[in-house]
């Protein structure tokens, strides 16, 4: 009896491990930055190039940082969701315009709507590296103390807003 049970048990364990492996998404790399202070930045604004925005200016409020670019196809899927979210007025969304051209970026916002409080320009992607960005779009929820509380990789969907992001923002606002 043992002769059959042991290999069977080993096989079942193997299948479970492989099964877990198959359901994981290799693109979803957990960020070590969650629950760590958001990397500071001071960047030029997209519309008014004479002005800058620094991360410190957002201390004391819960805010979202959305990394986007006009060349990013998935950003197009996500954009209407962000526009709707901005209309709800729950949370200010700041756009990090990642490795983009200024005029095409502005054209893009004109065409699809502008959900951002302010868009800032990360032309060479250096701030992106500091935030661990490797695929656009990525979205961060940052709390009043300037701590990153959540990172969403890929397009924000209505489900992810409902199930995770909005409840989290409400909790953080207290």
């Amino acid at each position: 009896m043992m002769r059959f049970l042991l290999p069977l048990a080993a096989f079942v364990v193997l299948v479970i491990f492989l099964g877990i492996g198959l359901t994981l998404n290799p693109r979803q790399v957990p960020s070590p930055l969650v629950d760590k202070p958001a990397p500071p930045f001071r960047l030029q604004q997209l519309y008014d190039t004479t002005k800058t925005l620094s991360s410190e200016e957002n201390l004391g409020k819960v805010w979202m940082l959305n990394v986007w670019a006009s060349w990013c196809v998935a950003c197009r899927d996500e954009h209407p969701v962000l526009v709707e979210l901005s209309k709800l007025g729950i949370v200010p969304i700041y756009g990090l315009n990642y490795k983009d051209q200024r005029d095409t970026a502005m054209q893009w916002l004109k065409q699809f709507g502008n959900p951002y409080e302010v868009s800032i320009v990360d032309a060479d992607g250096k701030v992106g590296i500091n935030y661990g960005v490797y695929g656009v779009p990525e979205t961060y929820v940052i709390d009043k103390q300037g701590i990153i509380r959540y990172k969403h990789i890929g397009p924000v969907t209505v489900e992810s807003l409902k199930n995770k992001i909005i409840p989290l923002i409400k909790e953080l606002k207290g």
């Binding site: 290799p26 957990p30 590296i129 490797y134």
Partner: protein, 170 residues
């Protein structure tokens, strides 16, 4: 006769020409593929380090090998930090703090990776132990069965063999 030799020499010349030309084309290709390095020493260090780092966009390629835009940016970042006299360890620490252990091709040794590091050895030891256990038990079983025949068993076997021989002869 002289004509024939001439002809042969001509075809040989042509053959050599083609060979030489093909060498030149290889050279041209190699020249194009070599990256433009301002500081070969630094570039060597960069490649050494980046070979052990994963490109997160093209996940099975290293940062050294990948041609993705992301890998380009990362190489630039590493280059800049090297110019700022940061050590390799400091640079790796910087990257891990932002991208996690996943960026390393060599997983670090810590509590969450114990299974990864020890798993194969545990399996090997377990398998070896099981094999030794099984072989020992089998030997004991064989020894137990391997008793000399009793007198009655021997007679029985003998008569069986005789009967078999008789059947074959008829």
């Amino acid at each position: 006769m002289a004509q024939l030799i001439n002809k042969k020499a001509n075809s040989l010349k042509r053959y050599l020409m083609v060979l030489i030309l093909s060498l030149f084309s290889l050279q041209g290709y190699a020249n194009e593929a070599v990256p433009v390095a301002e500081d070969p020493e630094l570039e060597k260090r960069l490649v050494n380090l980046a070979e052990n780092l994963r490109c997160l966009v093209c996940q099975n390629e290293s940062l050294a090998a990948s041609r993705a835009d992301f890998a380009n940016d990362m190489r630039r970042e590493i280059r800049e930090q090297m110019r700022m006299n940061k050590s390799d360890d400091e640079i790796v620490e910087f990257l891990v703090a932002r991208y996690g252990d996943f960026i390393l091709f060599n997983p670090p040794f810590k509590s969450t990776t114990w299974f990864l590091w020890f798993g194969p050895f545990t399996l090997l030891l377990g398998g070896g132990a099981a094999l030794v256990f099984y072989l020992r038990r089998r030997r004991i079983q064989i020894n137990e069965k391997d008793q000399p025949l009793t007198e009655s068993q021997r007679l029985q076997a003998e008569s069986l063999i005789k009967e078999m021989n008789k059947d074959q002869n008829t």
